[in-house]
């Protein structure tokens, strides 16, 4: 999943990028509101982490413009402004969650998971498709009871496919959600990741989970709870 961080404090921005990248997210980060708005409008993010007090364009204005343009990407506001009216202002401007600085990284991760879960219309952190289970909180795949070991890139591709189960996803779309903008992406990166995934899944007896739609992209079967399709 791809996350945009708009935070002007360099050190905090770098820590957020480091932590979220380590957690498996593709992360883009910018230091002012104007640049943040451009990124949010031109790239499809799964989540935006937004500071309020920003140079060039403040977070509330950025959020207002984003929502006015019909952008529904979940936005998590980070701010040192902790008064009730300030939090209310942020939420009313279109934020999906509000986290007051200082905050723990674990809490931030939990809130990001909750927001992405809510965005896909699920109340559970666990997604199951075709015998494969994804635990979003533990950031782990499993087939049956045994874990499925995947590289970060494979994890990111399969996660995105399963999160969008039942929908055909183009290579470009998968790339956009799986890689941060500063990453060098080879033209066949998604294809080779899918091939590696199919091999690992086949070793566990899972065949045809990822379907190729010629000229369109890839499709994973309709989503369901693990209990339902196990």
């Amino acid at each position: 999943m791809r996350v945009l961080i708009v935070e002007d404090t360099r050190r905090l921005r770098e820590s957020l990028v480091d932590g979220l990248t380590a957690a498996g997210y593709a992360v883009d980060a910018v230091g002012d509101g104007r640049e943040g708005l451009i990124h949010a409008r031109t790239t499809e993010y799964d989540l935006v982490v937004l500071d309020i007090m920003l140079p060039e364009l403040d977070g509330i204005s950025l959020l207002g413009r984003l929502r006015a343009a019909g952008n529904t990407t979940p936005v998590l506001v980070l701010s040192a402004r902790d008064r009730v009216e300030q939090r209310v202002e942020g939420l009313r401007a279109g934020a999906d969650d509000y986290l007051v600085k200082p905050f723990s990284f674990d809490e931030l991760l939990a809130r990001i998971e909750a927001l992405t879960r809510r965005a896909r219309g699920s109340a559970s952190n666990v997604v199951g498709v075709g015998g494969v289970t994804l635990d979003l909180a533990a950031r782990r795949f499993s087939v049956g009871d045994s874990p499925l070991e995947l590289s970060p890139r494979e994890y990111a591709v399969l996660e995105y496919l399963m999160m969008n189960a039942g929908r055909t996803l183009s290579r470009g779309e998968i790339e956009e959600h799986v890689y941060a903008e500063d990453r060098q992406v080879w033209s066949n990166a998604i294809d080779s990741a899918v091939a590696a995934l199919r091999k690992k899944l086949a070793e566990r007896g899972v065949h045809d989970l990822i379907e190729t739609r010629r000229g369109l992209g890839y499709l994973v079967g309709k989503a369901g709870t693990p209990g339902a399709d196990a």
């Binding site: 002007d8 404090t9 360099r10 050190r11 905090l12 820590s15 957020l16 480091d18 932590g19 380590a22 957690a23 230091g31 002012d32 509101g33 007090m53 920003l54 140079p55 060039e56 403040d58 980070l78 040192a80 402004r81 902790d82 007051v100 600085k101 200082p102 905050f103 723990s104 990284f105 674990d106």
Partner: protein, 472 residues
């Protein structure tokens, strides 16, 4: 506790009560005076009449009381005693009361009046009239005492008990009326005072309703009586000042929270990420960054303490010349100014100085010069002027063009104020001008910041009651 209502009620009550008392006493004494005067006049007339009946027979050389009637009190209504100049009684009524008879009349002099008590409830009123007997041969029908006749003293006594009882009744009635009037007056005064003070209670109610959330509400002073309007207006002024203070505190708290929360958030994130994803390089970086964050927080703390110490600093009588300090500070920034093509104009009077420790003057001038150097854009200008006398210098610094508003100029000396509302960057916390403000207070200096029409920020520092000419 002093109560205006009680004080007014008591004062008005006592004043009106005293007035009633004086009126009652006046009425009583006028009534008594009139009644007594009437009685005395009647007694004196009777005495004159009796005196005219004393006749001198010159041939016999004797005095006689020429009265054929009955002298008893039952018939005359009064007692009578007539004595000659030798004290010999010429005529006397029967049963003349002893207390009345006891007094020896004194011949000569004007008529005298006495009220005599008998020891019980009876009171007598007596007139003593010194007259002259008539001389026999006068016309009997028009007889009157003449100066030729020998002197006689006529005492006429009337029982005045009824009169005195009447007086007592009047007195009691007046006292009762006075008490009732005072009572009614006190009730009326209380009601009037309460009504008069009703606007005070209304004002108190309005003030009671003012809370932290309603500080911006104005009291409508036009609805109050003229006496309370200045108070209502003063309260409105006070509320405005309180509101401004609260707003200033709020800005300070917001800014302080941001300045402190941001490094704490940085620390929390660094340690959180390093703890969750342990990696040697990440942990090393976290340790290095934590040290830098601690140093920044320490600088912030030192700046805050410096501002606080500046305010608490004592006065020193020595004078600090400003010229050398300003030149040193400008020299420190000369390279930077050249690099950024910033023009510098100076006009420095070396004799000019401030009274106070050199360290305080240095803190003020260093921060102002640093600020101007830091925030003047490339190609801009800085002007510095020092003028005035020993201990009464005016210092002025201008820099521009800068994108600040008049409101910014008003607030820039507040702790944590920053021109950038996003408060980005960790090099400055917005305490430099707060430090200037604190040391100005220490040195008894007045500071003023304003934006000129050509986007230039002008800051002027001078002694509070400076008479020095404008340095620029």
């Amino acid at each position: 506790m002093t109560s205006i209502r009680r004080m007014l009620t008591l004062s008005l009550g006592v004043a009106i009560g005293l007035l009633f008392a004086v009126l009652a006493v006046a009425v009583f004494f006028s009534y008594r005076g009139a009644v007594r005067a009437q009685l005395d006049e009647s007694l004196r007339t009777r005495a004159s009449t009796f005196a005219a009946m004393v006749v001198e027979d010159r041939e016999e050389d004797e005095l006689a009381f020429d009265f054929e009637g009955d002298l008893r009190v039952e018939n005359q209504g009064v007692w009578l005693r007539i004595t000659d100049s030798h004290g010999e009684v010429l005529a006397v009524s029967d049963a003349l009361p002893r207390v009345v008879a006891g007094e020896t009349p004194r011949p000569g002099g004007p008529p005298a009046y006495r009220t005599i008590a008998d020891g019980g409830d009876t009171r007598y009123r007596k007139v003593i009239l010194n007259a002259h007997a008539s001389v026999e041969g006068d016309d009997d029908d028009n007889r009157a005492p003449t100066a030729e006749g020998p002197p006689v003293t006529v005492e006429v006594v009337a029982d005045a008990s009824a009169l005195l009882r009447d007086e007592r009744r009047w007195r009691n009635a007046l006292i009762a009326a006075f008490c009732v009037a005072v009572g009614v007056t006190m009730i009326a005064v209380r009601l009037v005072v309460r009504r008069g003070l009703a606007p005070v209670h209304r004002l108190t109610g309005e003030l009671d309703r003012i809370g932290p959330a309603t500080l911006s509400l104005d009291i409508d002073d036009h609805t109050y009586p003229a006496e309370l309007r200045p108070i209502a207006a003063a309260v409105n002024g006070l509320l405005e000042r309180v509101l401004a203070g609260v707003e200033r505190e709020r800005r300070f708290t917001d800014a302080a929270a941001h300045e402190l929360r941001t490094p704490i958030a940085e620390l929390t994130m660094l340690t959180g990420v390093a703890g969750r994803y342990p990696d040697e390089a990440r942990q090393r970086r976290a340790i290095e960054e934590a040290g830098a964050i601690a140093a920044e927080m320490n600088t912030l703390l030192e700046s805050l303490l410096l501002a606080a110490r500046g305010r608490a600093g004592g006065k020193v009588d020595a004078t600090t010349p400003l010229g050398p300090i300003v030149r040193t500070q400008l020299d420190k920034h000369a390279g930077l100014l050249r690099e950024r093509s910033i023009s510098l104009e100076t006009e420095i009077d070396d004799a000019a100085g401030w009274r106070g420790p050199a360290g305080a003057a240095l803190m003020i001038l260093r921060n102002l010069v640093e600020n101007a150097g830091e925030y003047t854009p490339e190609g801009g200008m800085i002007r510095v002027a020092v003028a005035g006398g020993v201990g009464s210098a005016g210092f002025e610094i201008e820099n521009g063009p800068v994108d600040l508003s008049a409101a910014d100029a008003d607030q820039m000396f507040e702790p944590f104020w920053r021109a950038d509302p996003a408060r980005s960057g960790r090099r400055h916390a917005g305490l430099g001008l707060a430090i200037v403000d604190a040391f100005c207070e220490t040195l008894g200096l007045m500071r003023r910041a304003e934006m000129t029409t050509d986007r230039t920020l002008r800051i002027r520092i001078e002694p509070t009651k400076s008479l020095t000419p404008d340095p620029i």
